[in-house]
């Protein structure tokens, strides 16, 4: 039997999505611009272009935490969008689509945490 009252879990999922999407909107374009376009074209240097500078940056725990936040917000935003995209395309499978969307997000975040905290 479904309990009456507000759907707090759904509200929490949407609130988390709003926060993650705003953080993603603020910080992701700079990473793509510098690391994906300007640095590969040789216009500017970037910390991930050389092994020494990359490992030096990642030796700072604050950088690792920052990058984990970056990956977590992006993967959660992706998972939430996947859930509601699939729900819009095919009705009646909301729990399954939720498991797929948030499952992908959890796998991505766990993989990011593992990679970040095991690199030299």
């Amino acid at each position: 039997m479904r309990r009456s009252g507000p759907d707090r879990v759904n509200a929490l999922l949407w609130a988390t999505f709003a926060q993650c999407a705003v953080i993603t909107a603020l910080i992701v374009p700079a990473h793509i611009l510098v690391q994906g376009v300007l640095a590969p074209l040789g216009i500017v240097p970037a910390f991930d272009q050389h092994y020494a500078s990359f490992t030096a940056a990642l030796s700072n725990p604050l950088v690792k935490v920052y990058l984990l936040v970056l990956f977590a917000t992006v993967f959660y935003t992706f998972g939430h969008r996947v859930r509601y995209l699939m729900t819009d395309l095919a009705h009646g499978y909301k729990p399954l689509f939720g498991a797929i969307g948030y499952g992908l997000a959890v796998i991505g975040i766990a993989a990011a945490a593992y990679v970040l905290f095991t690199v030299p």
Binding site: H31, I32, L33, V34, G36, A57
Partner: protein
């Protein structure tokens, strides 16, 4: 982001095995991703004027001011993060 994660995992290969993404196809792919990322930034920061309510006395800050503040924050954060990424590459 997945490609960046792959790049980080390549650090396990050591200095001799590390290969950053430098190819032209990667730059083209990044430009497509950048377009989508900027679209996401534009739509979400535009929402800020609709959903945020900042009281000033018995009035509310106008939606346009909140939206303008969000865009200004976006420019500031982009400059700051870009500068840090470049600075990390010069060390």
């Amino acid at each position: 982001m997945l490609w960046f994660l792959v790049e980080i995992s390549r650090l396990h290969d050591g200095a001799a095995g590390y290969r950053p993404h430098l190819s032209i196809p990667f730059v083209v792919f990044s430009l497509v991703c950048l377009a989508f990322a900027l679209w996401h930034s534009y739509t979400f920061l535009s929402f800020s004027g609709l959903i945020m309510r900042i009281p000033i006395g018995d009035r509310l800050l106008p939606a346009g001011a909140i939206r303008g503040g969000a865009y200004a924050l976006f420019v500031l954060v982009t400059i700051l993060i870009s500068a840090l990424l470049v600075w990390g590459g010069t060390r």
